[in-house]
């Protein structure tokens, strides 16, 4: 018996090596490298005593597929005819799900219990290349296509020199020691340097507040009594840094802002954006709702996710977050941890144990066809797109949560930091074992239980790291890889534990790890004692502070009454979820952290949660100078429409959409693509809650960053309206129109802006950026009031800049409104595509001279000035009527007008079946191009059956303009002033849309380039 073994799987002769072929093709396409043939192999290093027979049995019976694979044991040699190699292993402590599964299989075949928490099997990939590429090229191929050097260990070289193997040996080094950091007598400059050196991300004023807290007489007395040093420990500073991080504390949304409008001369002081425009606005909405017998708003802004009542038995829980910084440096890991992390929010709202219903994702990327020079540390937008897409695929699909809709927005300014918005909806019973499910109650003496994955060095400083701008020195430990399967186990467990009445409450371990989760929960009871030596580790060698702030994934913190410990422990064992009792809650007002009985941290809870100094920020608004361009009026509009359909921001995303499972759980009623062709894009998703009733929820996303270049207020108002009208388009209804109608709406706002804190040297236009944020918030307040739609949760991400080589790439100020609304009967949902010939086509709403920021102008390289504005009153009146028309079943199809305006909407509504339409544009006084391509808000393209025309026109009145009829000939004809201005075959239009850059880049273009491939 020996302790270390290598198992190599290669494909049998005759089995096509798809993985190898993909590497060869990608090397040629993306890097211009000629690799010759590439052969792939899977490697498993087993560090466990096995006899030769056991090893052979394990390899051939458990790992190899008898139809596909050949097995080699304990030899790492190349095959004949291959000159070079690349070996892709993982760095110490990086999640290795494949290794874990192999270990599981080994335990089964040996029929002996293997310590599943020690890694015995390490999975790797080996690529053999035919051509003798120099080492620099091999390394480039390895780092840019096969691995990420922050996560992977990459070996490259000549086969003739012997293949170098690498197996991680995690741990070692650090001992469990706690250091004291002296703040006494430090100068301002030294305080700032200390913060920078340790990635505390605290500014001078905050560092001073920390210093003053520790210097205070009462603090000194308390510390002496508790046996702590006078100066703070490393752990204490880390706890403060992450608790006070922008990520956790939203300091800029809480700041005092002095706002000045240079145009009107108006000056005002805003006492917290969050309080003024978000919280207070929702309170007012709630007052109006309750006054009208609509008391479905249950939980807002106070937990991991917002909750609204569906019916007397159940709650809908809704949360959207971003995961931008991690996705910039490791797109796959960033996106998958984003999804899984966001899933944990609804899972751990209130008591915990909600059932996840769906995911939705909105992504903002730089141009994937960018061919310029990248900055140091900057990843190519295409690579970010592909990595993020794959992360969403695995994060959603492997968790069994359908990705029901989303959006992808392209703009060059997202090339430094992409925006990755992840949303998750869930359903929770109103009560678990007789207790209100949404409440978090904790008493002194309740146990603190860590559940799920173990703790390693991954994710240390994630919370503080995401609160600073990104540069080329991003720390490797800020990157994590999620494990959907580990989380699925914990999710299944939570579901049963909550239903069995075993959980008092729970929260997730996300940013800030235990420090954040225990710190927040301790705020409920008034204190906690944590014994860090009990925390199970992935490997030894973590310092106490590292254990406390590590963001290792797939973990929950549970609150359990002492009397229920035995039962919950047994359930955890049965379901193979590790539960560890790491301490208890107190009511003494202190967060008390220990290691082996020795004090590691002891912080006053009030100072920790309330002690952060308030920021005072300056905002100054100057309206951008804009002008309306001259576009020749002699354009060929058929050609223009075709170009728009094939443009980056409008073209089909089918290749992305189809790689997401959008119908697991069997409840998705309106999917992203519908119709007989499966290629008609929809405005919002509709999902039913269960199989017993037809109640469901509509889900939409509004995001329009381009308009922010003209006016951030109109951009924000328009984004809000876009999300509302998408829900109206699929048959949703506005809330509170009738007393006690119970139609809930639940909205999350997500602001992603560049650094908006003015600094004369580092951020000279900071005041204007902050003014944009203020205006976005003002629009938000106006919109919620106008529609009586409440916000229930949200998030802000404030430093979306990437700096390297003296260049800064900042995202445009962006806000996403993610909306959900109850559908009383999903069978009455409306889809966007035309349903039958001779149905009458209507334009609902008003078109204005608003081509500013439009895709039509973008096609001509112009921005324009006349940004679309929302008239909330008119919009609300229209949406109310559309709802009434749906109640009477008068609408056969409905599509909202957005990017590309009426012309693009007309084309898209033909994509479901191959219908056409004949349309006559009315004489409105607006130029033809404006009628066709203006992106004026609050408009729909709807069709009505001939027999319903009278009733429909009576109801909608002047708000509906009759345009023409649906035809069966597959031709789209648009006439204006007696002339045909667009004449196109709708199959050709669909082809232009389908063969756009996104599908071209990521899609299976034709049957010819399919390979009958096997991957290892």
């Amino acid at each position: 018996m020996t302790d270390t073994h290598t198992i190599q799987l290669t494909l049998k002769p005759g089995q096509h090596d798809g993985d190898g072929q993909r590497v060869a093709e990608a090397a040629a396409r993306h890097l211009g490298l000629r690799t010759g043939r590439v052969r792939s192999a899977a490697l498993y290093t087993v560090r466990y005593p096995l006899s030769e027979t056991q090893l052979r049995d394990f390899a051939t019976r458990c790992l190899a597929d008898p139809v596909l694979h050949d097995v080699r044991l304990n030899e790492l040699s190349g095959a004949e005819g291959f000159a070079t190699y690349i070996l892709v292993a993982r760095r110490p402590g990086v999640t290795d799900d494949e290794g874990t599964s192999a270990q599981n299989a080994l335990a089964d075949i040996l029929n002996e219990p293997l310590d599943v928490h020690t890694q015995h099997i390490f999975s790797k990939k080996l690529y053999l290349l035919e051509n003798d590429l120099p080492e620099t090229e091999l390394r480039r191929l390895a780092e840019e296509l096969l691995g990420n050097k922050l996560i992977n260990w990459l070996e490259v070289g000549r086969v003739a020199d012997g293949i170098r193997d690498y197996t991680p040996r995690p741990g070692g080094g650090a001992e469990a020691i706690t250091e004291v950091v002296s703040l006494t007598g430090l100068s301002d400059a030294e305080l700032v340097q200390l913060s920078k050196d340790n990635i505390y991300a605290l500014n001078l004023e905050e560092m001073r507040a920390v210093r003053d807290y520790f210097a205070a007489v009462e603090t000194q007395a308390e510390r002496q009594a508790a046996g702590l040093p006078a100066d703070p420990t490393d752990c204490e500073l880390e706890i403060i840094a992450q608790t006070w991080s922008e990520h956790c504390k939203h300091k800029e949304f809480a700041a005092v802002i002095n706002y000045k409008d240079t145009e009107t001369g108006e000056e005002k002081q805003i006492d917290s954006l969050f309080k003024t425009y978000i919280k207070n606005a929702t309170s007012e909405v709630d007052r109006q709702l309750r006054a009208n017998g609509n008391d479905w708003l249950i939980k807002v802004f106070s937990d991991n996710a917002g909750a609204v009542r569906i019916n007397p038995d159940s709650l809908f829980v809704w949360k959207v977050e971003t995961h931008n910084s991690p996705s910039a440096i490791d797109p796959y890991g960033g996106a998958i941890t984003g999804i899984l992390g966001n899933n944990r929010d609804p899972l751990a709202t209130g008591i915990g144990g909600a059932r996840l219903l769906f995911n939705t994702n909105v992504l903002c990327f730089g141009n994937p066809e960018f061919d310029g020079q990248l900055l140091t540390g900057q990843l190519h937008p295409r690579r970010i797109l592909e990595g993020v897409r794959k992360g969403i695929e695995d994060g959603g699909n492997k968790s069994g949560v359908p990705t029901v809709n989303g959006a992808i927005v392209f703009d060059d300014r997202y090339a430094g930091k992409p925006l990755v918005y992840c949303g998750t909806g869930a359903v929770m019973p109103m009560q678990f074992a007789g207790l209100d499910s949404w409440e978090k109650k904790i008493d002194a003496g309740d146990r603190i239980i860590m559940a799920g994955g173990r703790v390693g060095k991954d994710g240390i400083h994630g919370a503080t790291f995401s609160s600073i701008e990104l540069d080329e020195t991003a720390p490797a430990t800020a990157v994590q890889i999620g494990s959907p399967i580990t989380q699925k186990l914990a999710m299944d467990f939570l579901l049963l534990a909550a239903r069995g009445g075993l959980l008092k409450c729970s929260t997730d371990n996300g940013a800030g790890g235990l420090s954040s989760s225990v710190g927040e929960l301790a705020g409920i009871s008034g204190g906690a004692v944590v014994e860090l030596e009990r925390v199970p580790l992935k490997y030894p060698g973590l310092r106490p502070w590292e254990i406390f702030v590590s963001e290792s994934q797939e973990r929950f913190t549970l609150v359990v009454e002492p009397g229920k410990m035995a039962e919950i422990t047994a359930l955890g064992q049965e379901m193979e979820v590790e539960l560890t009792d790491i301490g208890y809650f107190t009511a003494d007002g202190f967060l008390d952290v220990r290691f082996d009985g020795a004090p590691v941290a002891r912080l006053n809870m009030e100072f920790l949660h309330e002690g952060v100094p308030r920021k005072v920020l300056e905002a100054e608004w100057t309206k951008p100078e804009g002008f309306e361009p001259q576009i020749p009026s002699s354009l060929d509009y058929t050609e223009t429409l075709t170009q728009l359909l094939g443009s980056l921001n409008i073209c089909s995303r089918e290749s992305v959409i189809r790689q997401y499972d959008h119908e697991v759980k069997g409840r998705t009623i309106v999917k992203p693509l519908m119709g007989a062709t499966g290629q008609a894009p929809q405005d919002a998703a509709v999902v039913r809650f269960n199989f017993e009733s037809w109640e469901g929820v509509a889900v939409s996303n509004g995001i329009l960053p381009r308009y922010g270049d003209l006016d951030a207020y109109d951009m924000s108002a328009g984004s809000f309206d876009e999300a509302v009208r998408q829900i109206i388009a699929v048959g949703g209804k506005l809330p509170n129109l009738t007393p006690g109608d119970g139609i809930f709406w639940s909205v999350n706002d997500n602001f992603c802006v560049p650094d908006s804190v003015y600094d004369p040297a580092g951020n000279p236009d900071g005041k204007q950026k902050l003014a944009k944020l203020v205006r976005m918030c003002e629009a938000l307040r106006d919109a919620t009031a106008a529609y009586c739609i409440p916000l229930t949760s949200g998030k802000d991400s404030m430093k979306n800049d990437f700096k390297a080589d003296g260049v800064k790439i900042s995202v445009p100020p962006t806000v996403l409104y993610s909306m959900t609304a109850k559908m009383e009967d999903v069978r009455r949902a409306i889809t966007s595509d035309f349903k039958q010939a001779d149905d009458v086509v209507y334009l609902l709403g008003e078109t204005h001279d608003e081509l500013g920021g439009s895709e039509f102008y973008a096609l001509h390289g112009q921005l324009g000035a006349n940004v679309p504005k929302v008239d909330f009153e008119k919009a609300k009146a229209l949406y109310t009527l559309v709802g009434q028309a749906n109640d009477q079943s008068l609408i056969q199809s409905c599509h909202d007008l957005s990017d590309g305006g009426l012309a693009v909407a007309l084309a898209e509504t033909t994509f479901g079946y191959g219908y056409g339409a004949v349309v006559e544009l009315p004489e409105t006084g607006l130029p033809l191009a404006t009628q066709l391509f203006s992106e004026s808000h609050s408009r729909f393209l709807a069709t009505v059956a001939p027999e319903d025309v009278v009733a429909f026109e009576q109801l909608l009145g002047e708000r509906a303009s009759r345009l023409g009829i649906v035809t069966s000939d597959g031709e789209l004809t648009v006439r204006h002033a007696g002339k045909t201005v667009i004449s196109a075959n709708t199959a050709a239009l669909r082809a232009a849309w389908t063969n756009g850059p996104v599908n071209h880049l990521l899609g299976v273009v034709s049957n010819d380039n399919l390979s009958h491939s096997n991957s290892l």
């Binding site: 798809g18 019976r61 458990c62 790992l63 597929d65 008898p66 139809v67 596909l68 799900d97 494949e98 599964s101 192999a102 599981n104 299989a105 089964d108 075949i109 029929n111 695929e393 699909n397 492997k398 968790s399 069994g400 494990s483 959907p484 399967i485 186990l489 299944d492 049965e574 379901m575 193979e576 959409i657 189809r658 790689q659 499972d661 959008h662 119908e663 697991v664 069997g666 693509l673 119709g675 007989a676 499966g678 039913r688 199989f691 999903v826 069978r827 949902a829 889809t831 595509d833 349903k835 039958q836 056969q892 479901g912 079946y913 299976v1004 049957n1007 399919l1010 390979s1011 009958h1012 491939s1013």
Partner: protein, 285 residues
């Protein structure tokens, strides 16, 4: 009629699977795999054993491999008995096994499908789609008239979604292929607009040998398929439902996928009715 629907360790289609049986009029119990492995629940108390879709153990070693491995090797008692022994007994008792997607992959990796040799040894495999990617799309299937399984009785064509990355059936040699065809075990094929079996992407979404989407064993009691009939329980699951209901407002609100479950529920009910006196006798003894 009682259906056991397995869950746990990354299985994720158990809810709609159980709903399918309930809508078809049967009882369905969602049971964690470890409860069966540790003997708290016996499969023999049920009529149909169901392996739902998902990503059991993350599909890290190939789809379904780790779960199949557990069924084959993990001993459940001191005498070396495994769950596979129980499943063999279950089938010998005339009971039924259904695997969908990842569940189908488990049955194939285990050798329960197609099981030409009768000794539960892997004979074919399911591997990466020809497209090299996971895909969610709707396909049309035709039932092989030669198929002998009560699950597919009376069904000619079926529209269902596929949602997989490893659904390409590979049959290693001509002899196996011929044996499968001769016995009509390739019970479902991907078809084109003319109703003919097709290898054309995306009508055949994965490039499967024999254009095959599902298999039965020679008894017809074990049935597995890559597509998801349990995702088409209501007419409103179909991507073109809105247009179709406009054309035909009085059509059934049931989805086509439900028929498979109604079939097996009806078949077992008939069997029970026929066997009722014997059961009573056995109870008296």
């Amino acid at each position: 009629m009682r259906a056991l629907v397995l869950t746990g360790f990354g299985i994720n289609c158990e809810e709609e699977f159980a709903a399918a049986y309930r809508l078809a009029g049967a009882e369905a119990a969602i049971v964690h795999f470890n409860q069966v492995l540790h003997g708290q629940v016996s499969i023999h108390d049920f009529d149909v054993l169901n392996f739902p879709g998902g990503f059991s153990f993350g599909d890290d070693l190939g789809s379904g491999v780790v779960l199949a491995n557990k069924l084959r090797y993990r001993q459940t008692s001191a005498d070396g008995r495994t769950l596979l022994d129980d499943i063999k007994q279950f089938i010998a008792d005339g009971k039924f096994v259904l695997g969908i997607c990842n569940g189908f992959q488990v049955l194939v990796k285990l050798g329960l499908l197609p099981n030409l040799g009768g000794d539960v040894t892997p004979e074919v495999t399911l591997t990466h789609n020809a497209s090299g990617r996971y895909e969610d799309r709707w396909v049309t299937l035709r039932v092989n008239p030669a198929a002998r399984t009560p699950f597919l009785k009376g069904i000619d064509k079926l529209e269902v979604p596929v949602r997989h990355g490893e659904g390409r059936l590979v049959v290693p040699d001509a002899a196996t292929r011929a044996a499968i065809e001769a016995a009509g075990l390739n019970c479902l094929s991907y078809i084109d607009a003319n109703g003919d079996g097709t290898s054309e992407y995306p009508l055949n979404p994965n490039g499967a040998d024999l254009n095959c989407a599902g298999l039965t064993d020679p008894t017809g009691q074990v049935f597995g398929l890559m597509p998801h009939p349990e995702a088409f329980l209501a007419a409103y699951n179909h991507p073109d439902w809105a247009r179709r209901r406009r054309q035909n407002p009085d059509a059934s609100e049931e989805g086509e996928g439900l028929q498979i479950f109604k079939n097996i529920v009806a078949h077992i009910a008939e069997k029970h009715a026929a066997a009722a006196p014997t059961v009573q006798l056995a109870t008296q003894n």
